[in-house]
């Protein structure tokens, strides 16, 4: 692989890692608060649709983004209602949300646009345009570093930079603020938080809302940044990969970044190279497609150390049995 191709693959890695990263951080907030979320996929999908639909109608990507966030947060709200208020099974609620998003997006899209569950293609202000960072042009001539800056670092849409900035921000919120301390505590020992006079329900809903907002960003990026419009099932399992990345990352923000970049890289490689020829043995494309999933299982099997989830994860908080 020559340098240019490598840059291309890495560039593509960044693009593909972005929705994973946003969703992964979304899951991180939710699960750190003790609410397991396998509905990331559905929330992203809902956001992707809402952002594309509103951007198509209004011509403004910002309104679209807002709509995406609202849609994902609404889905989050359902999850919260089921798993926090009504102490239902969080896994089942997540499954239901995935189904709901998968059906509703197409149903509404068809009703609104009549294009078979697609939104119209977004043009002009309906999309996030790539941002060229300062001096990208000027520096592109510098050997090695120049192209890296100009092609790999510069030239992504705003949400990519937002996603990457979210990593230190998440770390800071989680480990340097009062809110973060309480959030982590509520995922470990909700009764400790409760007896310390802090509302468990309030904290968990806050986490769920943050989760919704981040999923909203992820979905909006898919539909208005990476692509130019919504198509059915366009999340294509990214929510599950994000979940896997979260476990891989042991529920920590910086690790999440690396996990998502790794999965992004795997996807980028699988996309670009159909059948990889390794000295006589051809690796079929199906293996590349399945690689992120296989890797997740291998990771889960504990070859990379045991991942201990937040202790109260998945359990509704019930004071009175």
């Amino acid at each position: 692989m020559d340098f240019a191709t490598l840059l291309q693959v890495l560039d593509s890695t960044v693009r593909l890692a972005t929705p994973l990263l946003l969703a992964c951080l979304a899951g991180l907030f939710s699960e750190r608060s003790g609410v397991i979320d396998i509905g990331l996929e559905g929330k992203m999908l809902a956001a992707a649709f809402a952002s594309a639909a509103i951007a198509a109608v209004t011509g403004s990507v910002w309104l679209g983004l807002l709509a995406g966030i609202v849609a994902a947060t609404f889905m989050s709200g359902i999850h919260g209602l089921a798993s926090i208020t009504f102490r239902g099974n969080q896994l089942i609620s997540g499954v239901a949300i995935n189904f709901l998003a998968s059906g509703l997006t197409v149903l509404i899209a068809q009703d609104w646009f009549g294009q078979g569950g697609r939104t119209p293609s977004l043009i002009g202000g309906g999309r996030f345009e790539p941002i060229t960072l300062p001096f990208a042009e000027a520096l592109s001539g510098v050997p090695v570093l120049g192209p890296i800056y100009a092609e790999l670092i510069s030239g992504h849409s705003a949400l990519v930079y937002v996603a990457f900035l979210m990593v230190p921000l998440t770390w800071f919120v989680l480990f340097r603020t009062r809110f973060g301390l309480r959030l982590r505590a509520v995922g470990e020992a909700p009764e400790a938080v409760d007896t310390a006079g802090v509302s468990v329900v309030g904290l968990r809903y806050a986490a769920i809302v943050i989760c919704g907002v981040l999923c909203g960003l992820a979905g909006a990026y898919l539909a208005t940044g990476l692509q130019a419009g919504f198509v059915r099932e366009m999340t294509a399992g990214r929510g599950y990969i994000a979940l896997a990345a979260l476990i891989f990352a042991k529920w920590r923000p910086w690790y999440a970044l690396f996990a998502c970049l790794l999965f992004g890289l795997l996807q980028a490689v699988a996309l670009r190279f159909q059948n990889i020829d390794l000295g006589g043995i051809t690796i079929p494309v199906q293996v590349m497609d399945a690689l992120p999933y296989i890797l997740t299982v291998v990771i889960l099997a504990g070859f990379v150390g045991k991942a201990i989830p937040p202790r109260a994860g998945g359990e509704p908080y019930v004071k009175e049995r």
Binding site: Q8, G114, R118, L222, Q227, E233, D289
Partner: protein, 311 residues
Amino acid sequence: DPALIYDLGGKFDKSFNEAAFNGAEAWAEETGGSYRDIELQSEAQREQALRRFAEAGFNPVVTTGFSMSAPIASVAADYPDTKFVTIDGFVNPEEHPNVLSILFSEHEGSYLVGMMAAMASESNTVGFVGGMDIPLIRKFACGYAQGAKSVSDDIEVISNMTGTTPAAWNDPVKGSELAKAQISQGADVIFAAAGGTGLGVLQTAADEGILSIGVDSNQNYVHPGQVLTSMLKRVDVAVQDAMTQGADLETGVMVLGLAENGVGYALDENNQDLVSEEMKVAVEEAKAQIVSGEIEVHDYSSDDSCPALNF
């Protein structure tokens, strides 16, 4: 009344199925008639839809996609008075006299757009993004490569398939990534024969400022001024014809090529600035030669091989 069954890709794929839909609409507009259509939900529904339409007296029952040929073969005998049409599929006419199989010479149309791609290319590198990796799509790719090579002997044709399952028809993200990869390898015209996936290719091409070529329907309007042309596959005409003939439909096997105007390339106000006079002349000439048999475009599916491209 006629009925129309779309393949799993769905009615509004802006491409193959949508062409069928457009044909049906055109028929309805022209004749004032009405028809019924359905997007399939599952495999088991293929037969069900055929039977339900046949039982309800719809005639002919037109279907799109090669996957419908097997169900038609198993249903047709039960409804001898109903005419079935399979577009892109093949059902043995001896065994099932009430079935019309319509096939297209996609390689011929692809040859023409391949020529145009080569002439429009400045980097002497053109790309092809296919949908699902099946002989049908290789037929597109092979015709395209032959056309391109006929213009420039040393032209490089980069070809990628999106996948090996029907999901490959509906994966614009992957289409987009493949297009980016081809662009980085120097391609400056990319032909997308990939259903919904192709929209991602067209989008990326437009974003990156290179040319793309649409497929099946006229997709020039998707990004005006940035889609060089579209390889037309006149599914719409086929559907409209079948519906017009109605219950008296002539069955058998029909192959539509350049001669029958079953395939072609699209020229309209959206791409008139892109297609030079010289290009038009060359393509029309080649078209005439293909029709007359002077140029023979190799059909990949005839022997599963391609002289111009390695898969």
